[in-house]
Amino acid sequence: MFLSAELSDAAFLRAIWMVSLTLASASLTGLLALAILRALRDWRRAMERARLDGLRAEVRDLLMADFSLDTVSLRQLSRREQGVLISVLLGYFRNLDGARTDRLRDLVEAWDMEAVLRSTARRGPRLDRLRSLAVLSRLDTASSLETIRAVLSDRDGPVRLAALRALARRRTDIPSAILVDIARSTAAENVALLTSIFRQIGPDAQEAMEELVRNPPDTNTLGAALGGLAGIGLSSLSVELRPLAGHPVPEIRKRVAGLAACFASVDTRACLAVLVTDPDAQVREVTATALGERKRTDEMDHLVALLRDPVWRVRWAASAALVLMGQAGRLLLKAAAQDNRDLEEIAEEALFRPGPA
C-alpha cells in the first residue's frame, strides 16, 4: 500500500488547495462588492428616476407642443439633470433637420442653455461632451462654432472626431491642415467614422483627402481617404491612382477600384486595366463592378475577359456589370452565354435583375 505523500511533495498539494481556496474566496468577495456597488447605483438611479422622468416628459411635451416658455433656466438644474436634458434633446433632434432644428435653437435660446452646452463640450465625462457637441452642431451661433473649433485641438481622439463631425454638419470651412492632422491621429481605429465625416464635408475635404492618399500614416487612414473621395461626386482627382493599383494590401486595391469607378480619366482607365488582372479574386470582383458603374462601352472588353475568370463570383460580377452597361452590355452577355453553358444561369439571373445585389 502506498501513500501519495510519501512519493510526492505534500507542500505542493497543500499549496493547490490553499491557492484554490484563496482565489475562490477573493473572487466571490469581489462579486459581492460589485453587487453592493450596483445596489447603491440602482438605488441612486431609482431615487433620481422619478424626478428625471418628470423632466424628460416635460422636455418632450415642450418639444411636441408650441411651447410658450415659462420654465427654469438650465443653470438651475443639477449637473445630472443637465446631462439628461441634453441627452433628451439629442435623442429628439439626432436625425432632424429644417423646422425642427429651428425649434431646438429656440429652446436653447429660451432656456439659456448654450453656455452650459459650451462648458460641457469643453470638459466633463466623454459621453456628455459628445452629446453637447452634437447639439452645438445644430445651432447657428458664432460662439457655439468657436467652442467646436476649440475642441478640435482636444487631447481626446473621439472628442476631436466629434468636433470634426459637428463642423462638417455646420458646413463651415475646416482648414485642410487640421483635417489631415486629426485624420492622422485618429483614423487607425475610426475608419468608418472618418470616411463618413469626409463624405459629409464633401468636396471641401478633397485637398486633405488627397494629401492623406499621397502621404498616408497607415493603411487605415489611406483606406478612409480613398473611401471618402469615392462618395462625394468630385469631377476630377489631382492624385494619381495608377501607382496604388499595385498596393500590397488587397483591401486598398479594392478601394482604388471603387474610386476609379467615379472618374473617367486616363489614369483611372490604366488603373482598372491593371486591376482586372489582379491576383486577388476579390479585387477582380470589385473591379468588374467598378467597370459596370463607369458605363464606358469601350471598356467592355475587360468585362468580357472577366466572364471567363476561373472564380465564379468574378464571372457573376462581370455579368451584372455588363447589364449595368445598358443594351450593348446585355446583348454581349446574351451572346457570351449562348457559347458558354457555364454562364447560362448567371446571365439569366443578371438579365432578370438589372444590377448587382
Binding site: F2, L13, W17, L23, R38, A192, V249, K254, W316
Partner: protein, 471 residues
C-alpha cells in the same frame, strides 16, 4: 516497495491532478487577455456614427442566411423580426432544409413568394435546390427550398445564392439585437486588416421577456440548469473567445451568429455537411487554408451581446446538445489533426488546438476517471488527505474562482443589464454549478467522445426548447 497496482494508481491519480491543474491554468490564462479585449472593445461602438452611416446608406451590404428545418410555427415571425433590423443594406435568405412541416407554405402565404432565376455558385456542395423564391412584399427576402441535407448543407445552399461581400449565419430561433449587424460589420471596414470573420457574444434569453422579436425585459433564467449555462457562457465561452480574439486564434464562432467574408468561405468550399460541428469546422478550415496560403488575416470576437438564444432548460435537452457539441469538436479535430503541434499554423497549431485536445479529448476522460477513482481510493485509505484536498481544490473550488472571476470581469468591464439581486443569484449559481452541473457536463462530453468513435450519422438536434419566459 511499491507494487504494480500501487504504481498504476499512483501514476493515474497524478495524471488526474496534473490534467486538472493544466486545464485550470489554461482557463486562468484566458482571464487577463479577455479583460483587456473587453476594455478595448467596450467603447469602440459609436452609436452616433452608426446612425449616420445608416441614414446615409453607407453600411456594408450583408446577406443573412437563416437555415430552417421544421420551423413552421415561428418562421414568419422570425422573418418579420429580421426584416426590421436597423441596417441599411441587407438581404435575408431563408433556406428551407426539406422540412417535413409547412414551413414553405406559411412563408408563401405570409410573404407572397414568387419564383426568381438565381444562379447557384457551383463551388459549394449542397443537396438539390427545388426552387428559389423572392417575396413580392419585401424584395430583400429570398427563400431557398431544397432537399434535406442538414444545417451545414442548408448554409451552403444559402451561400451559393449570396451576392454580397459579407454574409451572416444565424439560427432561425435567435433574437438579434437591433444594432447587431452594424456592430459586427464594423471590423470589416478597416482596410489595414483582412478580417475574415466576426463572432459575437450570445446571450441566454431564458427568463427574458420577448416582444415583437426583441428582448423587452432582461432577467435571469428561472431554472437552475439554464442559469448555470448563463454562468458557463461567461466563463468558458466569452472569456476563451475574447482571449483568442486578442491573439487571433479564435477556434469557434457560434452557429447562432457569425459574420463572414463570403469570398473566403466560398474559396474553402463552404461548410462541411458531413459534420455536426459545422461552426467550429469552418473556422478551423479557414485558419488552415489562410495560413497555408501565407495570407494575413484576422478573426474578431465582440464582447457585446449581438444575439440571444434559448438554451436547453432540461437535463435531457442539455445532454443532447453537449453530446452533439463534443462530437462536433472531435470531428473537427480528427479532420485537422495534422495542424496540432504543427509550427506551420503558428499559435493556432501550437497552442490553441493542443489546448482543445487537452480540454475536449483528454479532459473528459481523465475527469470522469477522477470522479470514480479519487473518492474510492481516499475512502480506502490509499490516498492521503493533502492529495484529496488538492483534488477537491482543483475540481470544485478552483472552478468557483474561474466562474466568479469571469463574472466579475465581465460585469465590471462591459455595460450589462444585470441588477444587484441578479448578480448575487449569478454568484450563487457560480458556486453551485461546480457541484453536479460541471461533473454532468464532463460525463456528457465523455459520452460524446464514445459516440464519436462509434460514428453515428449527423442530424439536426432537438434540444427540447420550451419558450423564453419559461426557461
Amino acid at each position: 516497495m511499491i507494487g504494480f497496482v500501487d504504481l498504476f494508481f499512483f501514476i493515474t491519480t497524478w495524471i488526474v491532478l496534473m490534467v486538472g491543474l493544466v486545464q485550470n491554468l489554461i482557463y486562468t490564462g484566458y482571464l487577463y487577455p479577455a479583460w483587456r479585449e473587453m476594455r478595448r472593445r467596450a467603447n469602440a461602438y459609436d452609436t452616433e456614427a452608426a446612425r449616420e452611416a445608416l441614414r446615409r446608406g453607407e453600411q456594408t451590404p450583408v446577406t443573412l442566411i437563416v437555415p430552417a428545418y421544421d420551423e413552421a410555427l415561428t418562421i414568419v415571425d422570425n422573418a418579420h423580426s429580421l426584416l426590421s433590423l436597423r441596417y441599411s443594406d441587407f438581404e435575408v435568405i431563408i433556406v428551407n432544409d426539406g422540412s417535413g412541416d409547412d414551413t414553405v407554405s406559411r412563408l408563401q402565404d405570409a410573404l407572397e413568394l414568387e419564383p426568381v432565376p438565381r444562379a447557384l455558385n457551383p463551388g459549394l456542395r449542397h443537396a438539390e435546390v427545388r426552387g428559389v423564391y423572392r417575396s413580392a412584399i419585401y424584395p430583400n427576402l429570398h427563400v431557398v427550398d431544397k432537399e434535406n441535407g442538414g444545417k451545414a448543407d442548408a448554409i451552403n445552399a444559402g451561400l451559393a445564392c449570396t451576392r454580397t461581400d459579407l454574409f451572416c449565419v444565424i439560427d432561425a430561433d435567435s433574437i438579434l439585437q437591433p444594432e447587431a449587424l452594424a456592430r459586427a460589420t464594423r471590423p470589416f471596414q478597416e482596410p489595414g486588416e483582412h478580417v475574415v470573420a466576426v463572432g459575437g457574444t450570445v446571450g441566454v434569453a431564458n427568463g427574458c421577456t420577448v416582444r415583437h422579436g426583441q428582448i423587452e425585459r432582461y432577467d435571469l433564467p428561472h431554472r437552475f440548469v439554464a442559469r448555470a449555462q448563463a454562468v458557463e457562457y461567461t466563463r468558458a465561452f466569452l472569456m476563451a473567445r475574447l482571449a483568442s480574439s486578442r491573439t487571433n486564434t479564435l477556434a469557434l464562432i457560434s452557429g447562432a451568429f457569425g459574420v463572414f467574408r463570403t469570398a473566403d468561405v466560398v474559396e474553402i468550399g463552404g461548410y462541411d455537411p458531413t459534420t455536426v460541428g459545422e461552426d467550429m469546422e469552418v473556422v478551423v478550415r479557414l485558419h488552415r487554408h489562410l495560413r497555408q496560403a501565407g495570407r494575413r488575416y484576422v478573426m474578431r470576437y465582440l464582447p457585446e451581446p449581438v444575439c440571444w438564444t434559448e438554451v436547453p432548460s432540461t437535463l435531457r435537452g442539455l445532454s443532447r446538445q453537449r453530446v452533439r457539441w463534443q462530437r462536433g469538436a472531435l470531428e473537427t479535430l480528427s479532420r485537422h489533426w495534422k495542424m496540432v503541434f504543427n509550427p506551420r499554423y503558428g499559435r493556432f497549431g501550437m497552442v490553441t488546438l493542443p489546448g482543445i485536445v487537452l480540454i475536449d479529448v483528454v479532459g473528459p476522460v481523465v475527469e470522469v476517471l477522477g470522479y470514480v477513482l479519487v473518492p474510492l481510493l481516499w475512502a480506502w485509505g490509499t490516498l492521503n488527505t493533502p492529495y484529496f484536498l488538492a483534488y477537491v481544490g482543483l475540481t470544485f473550488v478552483f472552478g468557483i474562482f474561474l466562474s466568479a472571476a469571469s463574472l466579475l470581469l465581465e460585469q465590471g468591464s462591459v455595460e450589462r443589464p444585470t441588477n444587484a439581486r441578479q448578480l448575487l443569484r449569478l454568484a450563487w449559481t457560480a458556486v453551485l454549478e461546480n457541484f453536479g452541473y460541471r461533473q454532468l457536463n464532463n460525463i456528457w462530453r465523455f459520452v460524446g467522445l464514445v459516440r464519436h468513435f462509434r460514428s453515428a450519422p449527423a442530424r439536426w438536434a432537438d434540444v427540447g426548447r420550451t419558450g423564453f419566459s419559461k426557461g
